[in-house]
Amino acid sequence: MAGIAVSTTINGDQAEFLCHPDETLLEVLRERLGLMGVKEGCGTGDCGACSIILDDRLVCSCLVLGAEAEGRRIATVEGMAQGDKLHPLQQKFLEHAALQCGICTPGFLIAAKDLLAKNPDPTEEEIRFGLAGNLCRCTGYDKIVRAVQDAASVMRGA
């Protein structure tokens, strides 16, 4: 099977890779590029653990083909912190203990980042519906919602 050459931007850096036509972007990110922060919980777009922002859209990377990344911009959890300075969402997830096992956390952080970019001051209900594509089995979502509310407040400078 011939590889397809793809040139893309990941977390602000240029990246080039070869992939098979049937290879998902999730497989490429994890297995070819070593971005293991992008998690696979289902491979069918139901759990959100593999969430990334593709250009300006929140997507499940398991539902995107690697070849589709050509010329696009990809943001993953690995690009959220600036050096040793955590993104406010990351900081608030820690402070609120919004993770127990943590496997869903990268997807939640990316989904929350996308949500706050579009709606900087969401209500609790807007947060709950905004994050409804991400499954967490440990927390019951309570502390996740509070962390996002707190991070939104910090990001607004309130």
Binding site: R30, G37, E40, V77, F93, I103, C104, L135, C136, C138
Partner: protein, 750 residues
């Protein structure tokens, strides 16, 4: 180790605070490595072929075409995993579950596996394996399997616990009975009786991380296994026994674990990965798909439970009786036994009897799921208790308070209780503002109680003090939800140093003595006990070193707030020596300073909780929305209260999912029809409200700080609390979990 009563009055300095967890930054930056996040040089990709049939004899497996596919390096079947279990039937069942031997026993049962150079080749190879099946009649329903004329799943199963011994095989592997008093005589005296049959459907633990491992077997007999597990020492035992390896030559490293809830307590695919690696002579990475996770791992029992409870006019429960049938998959289990033990554990009962039946079905092998077996029994009992309270004319909370077990009560499953929290949780609920909040149209409120035993178990911990005075804590209980934070707090507390100076790690199986797995709510309970003991052993050495540095008798040295203090008239003027100063001198005072502990952590205090739930039912669609939810639970002593709250909230959310929506749906063909998150559907963020928590602290007399396990009890009350709320809203007693919209509509129309 017994509770130090001085702690009751003492204010802890570290324990009870809420610092950020030590593994937190790695988990929010994507650096934490879970089961599938590890690769080895030269690794192959393993895949498992699974039976599409619920019950079939495996006539023949032809792997020749798969073996010839370029890129395939090994194919294994049951022939590559010979039976080395030596009469250990539970290990034989695990072996047979990992790879079917004579028969495929459920849809999803492993029958063969391949290792190939990549996932694409491995998937292709599976299609080239030819399995010849002879289909057998199957049964997936617990009541149908219990019936005398049911298709027989295992013709060697003769019901245990029945006298005289049955003369023929059945699907009932065991009968167990608990209780005391004379139930029939008691029931005859009752003024009010409630008698009903309840059903619960099978659910999955639903951890977001699929099972994953990387196995590497060398030709010299050594092996390494990287795996997501709740117990890497247990996995080592299982794998060594099933593969014929020496345990000391198999090093198992537990990855970060993406949820377990009981589902990662015994091996599934790990022996297969090791067998593939041994055959191929290369490392093999094996990661399950979500479909495989649903079809072949985990699920809890489906149940069918008859309950009969009688009360006197004054509200005293005079007799309680339950018969509980639990499905256990196609292998014998002890799930009904546990259900029968927990069913009436919240109450003080003169006459009580529970009978449990383990029922084999053609579904996946049942695994533990958070307080395994207790939620279903609590659903049946707490529903009947609610109904009985109404008949007696008492408030649901008052009725329970009147009959609640207390210190000194003989539990329905045998032992006599020490100090327990059921009464205090009920009193807290009675006085909670949630109980007084008004309800609207189509809304209902329910409450329910729950019990779990908790477990202690074998535990081994090392506490090593570095020359810079920082502390490395090596524990062997896998951290499933923040225990490294709580254990670091305990080490800091005992040594009298800052939390930030302690780093807890989960040591691999070659670096630490045996530890039981993280189950039974034992992680923080047992490892904190071992950590306290290890710290006290280290303090003995620290005191001796200080005595040596001062040249005074060790008896004159005490340990206070992280410092050696010289006592006595003659050397009272010596300035205190800090842990850091003593550690810095260790190279010249006798070498490294460490404390070790190897214990059986006996005395896990029993745990009780009471939950309150408000719901609203849409009478047009039958859909139920949870409006408000409150958890009150005894923690003994909350080491890290935020993570204790997290356990309360997480268990409640899982219970709500079970109550309202989650279930395994099988077709007439015996195949699982909803093996994915879309169709199985666990609760999402928009399904739930905030979950309020109230932590009570009734010290466990068997732990130095009074700690009780907190992980499991929170899943016990929700099925009943939600069902009582729905029943109160719609005016019909709900008897079947989950209360999905079609079931609620049917109940409304009945």
């Amino acid at each position: 180790m017994t509770f130090d009563p001085s702690h009751a009055a003492r204010s802890f300095s570290s324990v009870g605070t809420r610092p950020i967890r030590p593994d937190g930054v790695d988990k929010v930056t994507g650096r934490a490595r879970y089961g599938a996040d590890f690769n080895m040089p030269g690794q192959l990709i393993g895949r498992i072929l699974r039976s599409p049939h619920a019950h079939a004899v495996i006539r023949k497996i032809d792997t020749s075409k798969a073996e010839q596919l370029p890129g395939v390096k090994a194919v294994v079947t049951a022939a590559d995993l010979p039976d080395l279990t030596n009469g250990d039937t539970s290990m034989y069942d695990i072996l047979d579950n990992c790879m079917a031997r004579r028969k495929a026993l459920y849809d999803g049962h492993a029958v063969a596996a391949v290792a190939a150079i990549d996932a694409h080749t491995a998937r292709q190879a599976l299609k080239l394996i030819d399995v010849e099946y002879e289909l057998l009649p199957h049964v997936t329903d617990v009541d149908q399997a219990f019936a005398a004329d049911a298709p027989l799943i295992n013709d060697t199963i003769i019901t245990k616990g029945v006298d005289p011994k049955p003369d023929r095989a059945s699907n009932v592997s065991m009968r167990s009975q608990f209780g005391h008093g004379d139930v029939d005589a008691g029931m005859a005296k009752a003024d009010f009786v409630v008698e009903r049959t309840f059903r619960t459907e099978q659910t999955h633990q639903g951890y977001i991380e699929p099972h994953a491992c990387v196995a590497n077997v060398s030709s010299d007999g050594t092996a390494d296994l990287w795996v997501c597990t709740q117990g890497h020492f247990v996995y080592r035992q299982h794998c060594a026994q099933l593969l014929g390896l020496e345990a000391s030559k198999l090093r198992v490293t537990s990855s970060e674990i993406g949820g377990g809830f009981g589902g990662k307590t015994h091996v599934w695919a790990e022996p297969v990965a090791l067998a593939l690696s041994r055959k191929a002579g290369r490392p093999v990475k094996l990661v399950m798909t979500r479909d495989e996770v649903f079809r072949a791992t985990g699920p809890t029992s489906a149940t069918s439970i008859d309950v009969k409870i009688g009360a006197l006019k004054d509200g005293t429960i005079i007799a309680a009786d339950a018969t509980l049938r639990y499905s256990c998959g196609p292998y014998a289990g002890s799930w009904a036994e546990v259900g029968a033990m927990t069913a009436f554990a919240c109450y003080k009962l003169e006459n009580v009897r529970t009978v449990g039946y383990e029922v084999l079905v053609n579904r996946p092998k049942t695994a533990a799921y958070r307080a395994p077996s207790a939620p279903m029994a609590a659903f049946a009992v707490e529903s009947a208790i609610d109904e009985l309270a109404k008949k007696v004319g008492m408030d649901a909370v008052d009725f329970r308070i009147k009959n609640a077990a207390q210190e000194g009560t003989k539990a329905s499953y045998g032992p006599v209780y020490g100090p327990i929290g059921i009464g205090p949780t009920l009193e807290a609920v009675k006085n909670h503002p949630h109980m007084k909040a008004p309800l609207g149209k189509n809304q209902g409120r329910g409450m329910a109680c729950g019990f779990w035993f908790n477990f202690g178990g074998q535990t081994c911990t090392d506490l090593n003090i570095g020359m810079d005075g920082t502390v490395s804590l090596a524990v062997g209980t896998v951290d499933v939800g923040g225990s490294r934070a709580s254990l670091s707090l305990v080490a800091a507390e005992e040594l009298g140093i800052d939390y930030a100076q302690v780093r807890a790690v989960i040591a691999d199986t070659s670096s630490l003595g045996y530890n039981d797995m993280t189950d039974g709510s034992r992680g923080t309970f047992s490892s904190s006990m071992a950590t306290i003991s290890a710290a006290r052993n280290a303090i003995k050495i620290l005191r001796a070193r200080a005595a040596q540095m001062w040249d005074i008798p060790v008896e004159d040295v005490t340990w206070e707030r992280g410092h050696a203090v010289a006592k006595g008239e003659t050397h009272g003027n010596l300035p205190n020596l800090s842990l850091k100063e003593i550690a810095a001198a260790s190279g010249t005072t006798g070498g490294p300073i460490a404390g070790h502990s190897e214990i059986v952590a006996d005395g896990a205090g029993v745990s009780f909780a009471t939950h309150i739930c408000d719901i609203e039912v849409d009478p047009e669609t039958g859909a139920t929305k949870v409006l408000r939810y409150t958890v009150v639970q005894d923690a003994g002593k909350a080491v890290h209260p935020t993570y204790v709250e997290g356990q309360y909230q997480g268990g409640a959310a899982q219970g709500i999912g079970w109550a309202l929506n989650e279930e395994y749906i099988y077709g007439k063909d015996g195949r699982l029809q909803n093996a994915g998150f879309l169709d199985y559907r666990i609760p999402v963020c928009s399904d739930l409200p905030m979950i309020d928590t109230q932590i009570l602290e009734i010290p466990n007399p068997n732990h130095p700080y009074g700690v009780r396990g907190v992980g499991e009890t929170s899943i016990v009350p929700p099925l009943a609390a939600v069902a009582n709320a729905v029943s109160n809203a719609v005016g019909v007693r709900m008897e079947h979990i989950p209360m999905s919209p079609p079931r609620i509509l049917a109940a409304l129309e009945a």
